[in-house]
């Protein structure tokens, strides 16, 4: 496939050219906060090099808040109106490769099997994914421990490798060819190819945990003492799951406003006290221990059993942001190796 070079000073032209064919979604800089994926518009500063913490791209495909349907009532009349997003050709740029792989996990949940989610499907259809490989690997990444990352490449349409003053655009799917048609792109030199290969090798060997055979799913035990250890310090917040690119849980709520009702969906997490709390007062996970266990078992065991993919792609957000330093790498180390972990930096 036809790989290309994008000189960084031509990035704007490249995005404009894409904008003529696609709706372009990319991480946009914000004040005091990680960049957020949105459809870019005038005045937005796009961060394409993956060098900084960013919100997970799921925020675009599975918005934190989304109206599902509206009901209007008039005397003797009830009208139900689903609110579906448009299916437009889109391209999402600037996401880390583990985030792009996390979208594969979301695809399994929302598109495959018995239930196909029309809202997610509408945004996801015709959406191309372009991942970025930053010049420096992030300290918290452990992607290569979770899976054979070579398998991830065809799941995106292109990867942009940050080679300093230029991006190396590797086209990784047939439809990805449409992304590199712009005449402002150059042909890669053999040096560029070597630079790209070097970054890929770094990615493949970065953050590999001491035991890393990637088979956490065989070793996670329901009754492991580690669950109590995490649960004791975990404060039961939404950071690890709301920031996780593959966590998919949501809540559905109805809200009455005068004569109309809005049904919306918003985030939810197995870490919250009222998650799956039933009307009867029964809660299948009554305290933090089963909640802490659920997060890891779901990602590494249940999702693997159910879909054949590992639910965690090693993006490191929960590692970096957990308020009490529950470090998923350390947990896996302890569970799988049953020895004191090496510092995993």
């Amino acid at each position: 496939m036809a790989d290309k070079i994008l000189p960084k000073d031509k990035t704007e032209g490249f995005i404009q050219a894409l904008g003529r064919k696609f709706v372009v979604v990319a991480p946009v800089e914000r004040k005091d906060a990680p960049a957020e994926f949105k459809e870019i518009g005038a005045g937005d500063k796009v961060i394409l090099d993956g060098s900084q913490m960013m919100m997970p791209p799921k925020d675009y495909l599975l918005p934190r808040y989304e109206t599902l349907l509206k009901v209007s009532t008039r005397p003797g009349e009830v009208e139900v109106q689903p609110v579906l997003p448009d299916e437009k050709p889109r391209v999402m740029l600037g996401m880390w490769l583990p985030d792009a792989q996390a979208i594969q996990v979301l695809d399994k949940v929302f598109l495959e099997g018995k239930f196909r989610d029309p809202y997610y499907a509408a945004r996801r259809a015709n959406t191309m994914l372009v991942a970025v490989m930053p010049a420096q690997m992030r300290w918290s990444w452990f992607c290569a421990s979770t899976d054979d990352v070579e398998k991830w490449k065809p799941n995106v349409d292109a990867i942009m490798y940050d080679l300093g003053d230029r991006f190396y655009i590797e086209v990784t799917s047939p439809r990805g060819e449409a992304l590199v048609e712009w005449e402002g792109l150059a042909e890669p030199s053999s040096e560029d190819v070597a630079g790209k290969d070097r970054l890929w090798e770094q990615f493949k060997s970065h953050g590999v945990l001491p035991f890393s055979d990637g088979k956490f799913y065989e070793q996670l035990a329901w009754d492991h003492p580690i669950w109590a250890e995490i649960a004791q310090k975990c404060i039961g917040c939404g950071v690890c799951s709301y920031m996780c690119p593959s966590c998919s849980c949501f809540d559905i709520q109805d809200e009455v406003c005068g004569t109309c009702v809005e049904r919306y969906r918003c985030r939810d997490t197995c870490q919250f006290e009222d998650f799956t709390l039933m009307g009867s007062g029964h809660n299948p996970r009554p305290d933090q221990l089963p909640r802490s266990r659920q997060r890891l078992m779901h990602k590494f065991k249940y999702q693997h059993e159910q879909y054949g993919v590992v639910g965690c792609t090693g993006c490191g957000r929960c590692v970096e942001l957990c308020p009490v330093n529950v470090d998923i790498r350390e947990v896996l180390n302890k569970v799988c190796a049953e020895k004191e972990p090496e510092p995993a930096v």
Binding site: K233, I235, G238, E255, P323, V326
Partner: protein
């Protein structure tokens, strides 16, 4: 290991061995050198896990209402953490007699994101130590000392109460900041409204700010109530305003300025700045400071004759 660290460990060992407490809550080394993690020790053999360094950020008082309910607990605590403990005692959430407070003089805590801004690669860091008012950072290529203004948490840059106000035993000396960081809020009400709108609009309602706050101990928070539904769960600007404004009011006269809410917010909302604003208003209007052992009762639970009458007073 510093001298203070070893004294903390000895003390923890002593109180566990002589049966004074059943549990010691402190900080242990984190998974990376620029973080620590809460640790709960019930066996004197494990006291060597305890550490004390400039990344001991967590306010461990958050664990007390549950963990010290029916047993005696020793807690290793910074001065701000101790103010939380005082507030919890005043609000009847924990009994003084159930606590053994190992208080520490403080020299300010580091905000690791500032290290990144100071062009230090987090993965290169080996250790952080106090050095006068600043911080010595030991990395793989050597060491350097950064000024407190470059690396301390925002809340620490505004903190002058660096001596423990209540303790059973105290180690270490406070290092006071030579300058106090002023508040940065815009002056005009319209500008403030705009500032906070922008801040709150980022909120993803993960509730980490609430969960980490020692004073947000309500069994069911208003934000989780369905009937009445005070605020919807959806993270949209108007509902976020409702959540933050209500939470700020619930903590007025109760927030002790530890800055934990702001530290844990994944989207950088300046919550502690808002809390500082509230605390100053409380101080100016009622001459009350939350977490001060001299105050006998919570502000909102007391009436004093010279209290401002809100009907007479609008601003």
């Amino acid at each position: 290991m510093t001298e203070i660290e070893s004294r903390i460990r000895e003390e923890a060992k002593k109180v566990l061995e002589n049966g004074l407490v059943d549990l010691v809550i402190g900080w242990a080394a984190g998974s990376v050198p620029f973080r620590t993690t809460p640790v709960f020790i019930d066996n004197a053999q494990d006291v060597d896990k305890l550490v004390w360094n400039p990344v001991c950020a967590n306010n461990l008082a958050v664990y007390l209402p549950k963990m010290a309910k029916n047993r005696k607990v020793a807690i290793v605590a910074k001065p701000c953490d101790i103010r939380s403990i005082v507030a919890l005692i005043q609000e009847n959430q924990v009994k003084r007699e159930n606590l053994y407070i190992i208080g520490l003089g403080c020299a300010g805590v580091v905000d690791p994101s500032k290290l990144e801004s100071a062009a230090i690669r987090l993965s290169d860091i080996k250790a952080l130590e106090w050095e006068g008012e600043g911080i010595r950072i030991v990395t793989v290529d050597g060491e350097q000392v950064l000024r407190s203004t470059e690396v301390h948490r925002e809340m620490c840059l505004a903190c002058t109460k660096r001596e423990p106000a209540l303790y059973d035993v105290k180690f270490g000396e406070a290092v006071l900041p030579s300058q106090i960081k002023p508040r940065e809020l815009p002056e005009l009400p319209e500008e403030r409204q705009k500032y906070w709108s922008e801040q709150f609009s980022k909120c993803i309602r993960c509730y980490a700010c609430r969960q980490i706050c020692p004073n947000c101990y309500c069994e069911v928070c208003f934000a989780d109530r369905v009937e009445p539904k005070w605020t919807a769960k959806k993270a949209v600007p108007e509902e976020n305003w409702m959540f933050h404004a209500t939470r700020a009011m619930h903590l007025a006269g109760r927030c002790i300025q530890c800055g934990e809410c702001e530290r844990v917010c994944p989207v950088g909302i300046r919550i502690a700045e808002l809390m500082r604003e509230m605390a100053e208003a409380v101080k100016n209007k009622y001459d009350y400071e939350a977490g001060d052992p001299k105050e006998e009762a919570p502000l909102l639970g007391t009436f004093r004759e010279n209290d401002i009458d809100p009907a007479q007073h609008s601003e």
